[in-house]
């Protein structure tokens, strides 16, 4: 019974990891690649960790597996955010099919508000 659960967890984890890699290869843009890799790889690694914890089945390795999972859950969104912000600031071109660029819209709005202030400097 436990073997079946471990097999399901490991196979689905490997499938999600493969999907993350295919997304990184096939997506057209840095930002879409980033979102494909971070979410799918986190889910895949979570499934693999659940399978390993069931395979060991004692407290010492459960604590280690849980700490790996908590660490990855905490750091992967931070890493994705930092990569996306850095590549936007470095002006990596967006995909030509992009329909919404909220950061550019907001920064233009803020610039216009500054320009129409009460004391315009030359």
């Amino acid at each position: 019974m436990t073997d079946v659960v471990i097999a399901i967890a490991w196979l689905s984890g490997a499938a999600f990891a493969l999907l993350a890699a295919i997304g990184v290869l096939r997506m057209p843009d840095v930002f879409t690649r980033m979102q494909a890799s971070t979410k799918a790889s986190t889910l895949g690694l979570g499934c693999l960790l659940v399978g390993a914890a069931l395979q060991f089945g004692d407290l010492a390795s459960l604590i280690r597996v849980a700490s790996i999972g908590a660490f990855v859950l905490l750091t992967t969104p931070v890493a994705g955010h930092v990569i996306a912000r850095a590549s936007y600031i470095a002006e990596i071109p967006l995909w030509e099919g992009t329909v919404l660029d909220e950061r550019r819209r907001d920064s233009e709005r803020a610039r216009r508000r500054l320009r129409s202030g009460p004391d315009p400097r030359p």
Binding site: W10, A17, A21, V30, A86
Partner: protein, 88 residues
């Protein structure tokens, strides 16, 4: 049964590593390569976890913790480098 399942899992993760490596080689910009390196680190952690569960050696999980930490720090360092731009 678990023997075959872990072998299939390891082969699938190896194929995923190969695909991520193709993106590292081809990636047109530096952030593409950083994204692929980040995925590479997570996949290596997954392979080590599956190997630990398969072989039953518990100390291998500590190596997985260390590799997850180093991968995160490397990603942050590369992103800071990209954000600061070329030092002219």
């Amino acid at each position: 049964m678990l023997e075959i399942v872990s072998q299939i899992t390891l082969v699938t993760l190896g194929i995923a590593l190969l695909i991520a490596f193709i993106r590292i080689v081809r990636g047109p910009t530096l952030p593409d390569r950083i994204v692929a390196m980040d995925l590479f680190g997570v996949l290596v952690v997954g392979i080590i976890v599956v190997l630990a569960g398969w072989s039953g050696v518990r100390a291998t999980l500590d190596a997985a913790i260390v590799i997850a930490l180093i991968g995160f720090l490397g990603t942050i360092a590369y992103a800071t480098y990209v954000e600061r731009g070329d030092p002219q």
